[in-house]
């Protein structure tokens, strides 16, 4: 996946802090801080030095900064070697570079996730105990 530099419409620079629910229809480049939630119908690029404490939703994403919150990506997610994600991840396709830190559940499946709540981990069936067995 490639997100061209010229495609950025909103740029959250390194000198800026965004508080609240950031919603956009276009592509977003984050170099600064975001607290709250970040949702875009376009592509997201989180650069080195960016600090996001928010749930994140986007069509495609490249993450090289820090995210504390759940990440839901509709298509492709690329996690770079400098990235640190603390939260659950849900996406269709993922690539993780060596050195990236992920602390949370990771759900990768090509299934449609339009109706599924953000980064909800799959339910795991417990094996039946000895007493329950016939």
């Amino acid at each position: 996946m490639r997100i061209e530099e010229g495609e950025n419409e909103t740029i959250i620079g390194p000198s800026v802090k965004v508080d609240g629910d950031f919603i956009s229809d276009g592509n977003v480049l984050v170099q600064g801080m975001v607290n709250g939630s970040l949702r875009t119908k376009g592509n997201l690029r989180v650069e080195v030095g960016a600090k996001i404490k928010a749930s994140v939703e986007a069509a495609n994403a490249i993450i090289r900064g820090q995210i504390k919150g759940n990440v839901t990506i509709q298509e492709n997610l690329e996690i770079g070697e400098t990235a640190a994600v603390e939260g659950d991840i849900a996406t269709k396709v993922i690539s993780v570079a060596p050195g990236a830190v992920i602390n949370g559940h990771c759900l990768v499946s090509p299934a449609e996730r339009g109706n599924r709540p953000a980064a909800e981990p799959a339910v795991v069936q417990k094996p039946a105990s000895d007493r329950e067995r016939p």
Binding site: G6, E9, I11, I12, G13, S15, K17, V18
Partner: protein
């Protein structure tokens, strides 16, 4: 039919050569019209109304950004300026003196270029910004440091005082060649961009006193495209440079009015 609005200071002998050459060019091209000199006590709104009633379709500001800003505000506040088919009269600028962001945006960088633009008379409808539901601006509004931005569902605060907020309607930073901003700064897209810049230190004394190269003094760090922005400040009133200097009470509501103004543009326009 044309009406020319000359700012009072253009009568100064410093500008006499430019004004004389302008008169000559206008006469040569046969586009002479009504001349109105804008004194300090002049009622510009009444003059604009009077010209519109007498059938003037092109209002020409002779002077700098402040002159064009005064005329633009009077024109847009005039009753009947907007008809069902759009704006009823066009604005043009003939540049005299410094501070010519509006003229540069319209492709009228020099007096001969501006006269040629008037002769060709190609018009375009463009968006304008509105501050506190009262003051209009065409190019951009520059706010003092220590302000923050309020959008519909989020706020943007600056982490230090070195940065400045500009709300841009047109491409004043000359960034069309930069691939990162090709979709931004279009005065016909019904949006404007809140831009946060960092002022670069002057490399040498020549750059410190340079009047030109406004855009090279700033480095763009953040861009937020939007239609409505609230600028918040701890001060009760702030000085905003929106084409011309304006004192505004805070919070300052900035909204875009799409395709509101008709302008005469030249081939070298910056749209």
């Amino acid at each position: 039919m044309f009406a020319y609005f000359l700012d009072d200071w253009t009568a100064h002998k410093r500008y006499s050569r430019e004004v004389d050459s302008l008169d000559l060019l206008l006469t040569q091209h046969g586009i002479i019209g009504r001349r109105i000199r804008l004194g300090r006590l002049h009622d510009l709104d009444a003059s604009v109304r009077d010209c519109a009633v007498s059938g003037v379709k092109t209002f020409v500001a002779i002077g700098n950004d402040a002159t064009a800003s005064k005329l633009l505000n009077s024109l847009l506040k005039m009753d009947g300026y907007q008809s069902d088919k759009g704006p009823t009269a066009a604005l043009a600028v003939l540049p005299i003196g410094d501070e010519q962001k509006i003229a540069a945006c319209l492709g009228s960088n020099t007096v001969p270029e501006a006269v040629q633009t008037l002769v060709e008379h190609r018009t375009e409808s463009i968006d304008v910004g509105k501050l506190n539901n009262r003051h209009y601006f065409m190019t951009m509004a520059t706010f003092p440091p220590k302000v923050s931005l309020g959008f519909l569902s989020y706020t943007v605060s600056l982490m230090d005082d070195e940065h400045q907020v500009h709300i841009c309607n047109t491409n004043v930073f000359n960034l069309k060649s930069d691939v990162r901003y090709q979709k931004s700064f279009n005065p016909q897209d019904g949006m404007f961009e809140a831009v946060i810049t960092r002022r670069l230190p002057a490399a040498d004394w020549k750059q410190l006193f340079a009047k030109e190269k406004f855009s090279s003094n700033f480095q763009i760090e953040s861009v937020f495209p939007h239609q409505r922005i609230t600028v918040l400040s701890r001060e009760k009133t702030i000085s905003v440079m929106a084409d011309a200097e304006k004192q505004l009470s805070t919070p300052v509501e900035v909204e875009v009015e799409p395709q509101k103004l008709l302008v005469v543009v030249g081939a070298k326009n910056n749209f």
